[in-house]
């Protein structure tokens, strides 16, 4: 499970094809203007990033681990990414609560969301991880599922050309 990262979890929920490609290091994030804007804003709002093993945490303060996102475009993907970090910390014996902070809110009602790693969400996360392992072991990437969200994706040109 060492080569599974928070980003891989996030992508799996968001788009299985993106997850597969990123896992196999066909990473195209640097080619996207939107991703670059996201990174620049991330730096503006967050100066205390902490790296433990393979995971990058935006902020640990008190009982909370905070994950900062530019927008709430895919709430569930962000949620599982954070749950993954909480699980990683738990494995190290550190029990924390999670907080998701969206710099821009469009879909959800508030900026800050408390995320807890309980038995049911931990089970869900474990299922996702086993599904990812099956997905990435396939010899070819999953087919393109045309969707409106593709327009904003760093992989858009790759998929649609």
């Amino acid at each position: 499970m060492n080569n599974i990262t928070g980003t891989i979890i996030n992508y799996y929920i968001h788009c299985k094809r993106q997850c597969y490609l990123h896992y196999h290091r066909i990473n195209l994030e640097d080619e996207s203007g939107l991703v670059k804007i996201g990174k620049a804003l991330h730096e503006r709002h967050n100066t205390e990033e902490i790296e433990i093993d393979n995971i990058k945490l935006d902020k640990i303060k008190g009982e909370f681990v905070t994950e900062i996102k530019k927008s709430d475009a895919d709430f569930n993907a962000s949620r599982f990414q954070l749950l993954f970090y909480l699980k990683k910390l738990k494995e190290k014996g550190v029990i924390k609560k999670g907080r998701l902070t969206f710099l821009e809110k469009n879909k959800v009602d508030k900026k800050n969301h408390e995320i807890l790693l309980d038995d049911s969400s931990e089970k869900e996360l474990e299922d996702i991880i086993s599904e990812i392992k099956i997905l990435v072991s396939n010899s070819t990437p999953p087919a393109i599922e045309k969707n409106n969200k593709c327009k904003k994706c760093a992989y858009y040109a790759f998929c649609y050309i």
């Binding site: 196999h24 290091r25 066909i26 070819t140 790759f158 649609y160 050309i161």
Partner: protein, 331 residues
């Protein structure tokens, strides 16, 4: 994002986390965040500090001698590495080399057809025979070719016939007898050689932004040059970018044989002002945008080269049909 062409003698320095090119005009600041390629077309001095800095910023440095001859490229450490992609690319070379090579040759023919059809429509009926050959006979011949040497012969035939067609529509003083490369012997050969080299280096810069390995090529033999994939992917863009720009510069009298070339007994090269006019025209062609039929957004010709890299990558990874750039992708 941007390209700088250094046409004067001077020194390139790293200064305050950016670049400074010092020449007889004094300091010329080059914004490090605003460029991704530098062409040195005259004597430029630099040290390893600059090279390291360019590498960290993913900037490619192309070096030329004073006679428009390409001497090499400083290519930063690969920013994209995918073991899976490399393995698949090698597999594709072993298993599908001919298929990819044929797709490229067909792509060249299609784009030449599109470019020449314009002249045919405007009264150059002599072109009809060649245009028909490109559409009928040539594809059949290509389909029946079984090995790479036959495919390469067909490719050479296309270019040969293409050069021969120039006398139909090109201004008289530029028409030439035959394609002569190192060194070019007349103005048109000088333009073709220089234009193709610029396209080759620009393609290298675009492949750098993909996960493809520059060394593994399909139409050209991988032994041909260090970065032979760039030779492959630049082929279909030659008619569209290099030749369209040449025809425009020649027929619209932007370049003249007397004013813009240095001619010697056995070679002919663009002079300083000729180089500027031609490079400026090429650069604006690379940056020209069109609405793409499947992406539904504006794409520059330069980006289209990178996207051909994506197509090839998709072909080798997941067997998507590989159709190199065609002018028909313009909406």
């Amino acid at each position: 994002m941007g390209t700088k062409y250094i046409l004067s003698k001077g020194e390139l320095h790293r200064q305050d986390n950016s670049l400074n090119f010092k020449n007889s005009n004094g300091n010329n600041y080059i914004p490090i965040e605003g460029i991704d390629e530098i062409y040195c077309l005259d004597e430029v001095s630099f040290n390893t500090k600059v090279i390291d800095f360019l590498s960290k910023n993913n900037i490619i440095l192309h070096l030329f001698n004073h006679y428009e001859g390409y001497s090499g490229t400083f290519y930063p450490r690969e920013k994209y590495m995918s073991g899976k992609a490399v393995i698949k690319q090698v597999e594709a070379f072993n298993e599908k080399r001919e298929l990819i090579a044929k797709a490229i040759v067909l792509g060249i023919a299609n784009n030449i057809h599109e470019v020449l059809y314009h002249y045919y429509r405007h009264g150059k009926e002599e072109l009809k025979e060649f245009l028909d050959w490109l559409k009928d006979e040539m594809p059949k011949k290509l389909e029946n070719s079984n090995d790479i040497s036959e495919i390469l012969l067909t490719e050479a035939d296309i270019w040969y016939r293409f050069y021969n067609s120039f006398s139909v529509f090109l201004r008289e003083d530029f028409v030439f007898n035959k394609r002569v490369k190192r060194p070019p012997d007349n103005p048109l050969n000088a333009l073709i050689s220089f234009g193709n080299t610029i396209l080759y280096t620009k393609t290298m810069g675009q492949i750098y932004q993909t996960h493809l390995d520059q060394r593994i090529s399909f139409l050209h033999s991988p032994q041909e040059r260090r970065f032979s994939l760039s030779l492959d992917l630049s082929e279909v863009f030659k008619p569209v970018i290099v030749f369209k720009t040449i025809f425009d510069c020649v027929n619209n009298r932007k370049l003249s044989v007397e004013k813009h070339f240095d001619k010697n007994l056995n070679y002919c090269l663009l002079n300083e002002s000729g180089k500027k006019i031609f490079l400026e025209a090429l650069e604006s062609k690379f940056n020209e945008t069109f609405k793409h039929t499947t992406l539904l957004r504006n794409v520059s010709y330069l980006k289209a080269i990178k996207y051909d890299g994506y197509k090839l990558l998709k072909y080798i990874l997941e067997d998507f049909e590989f159709n190199p750039f065609s002018l028909k992708e313009k909406k």
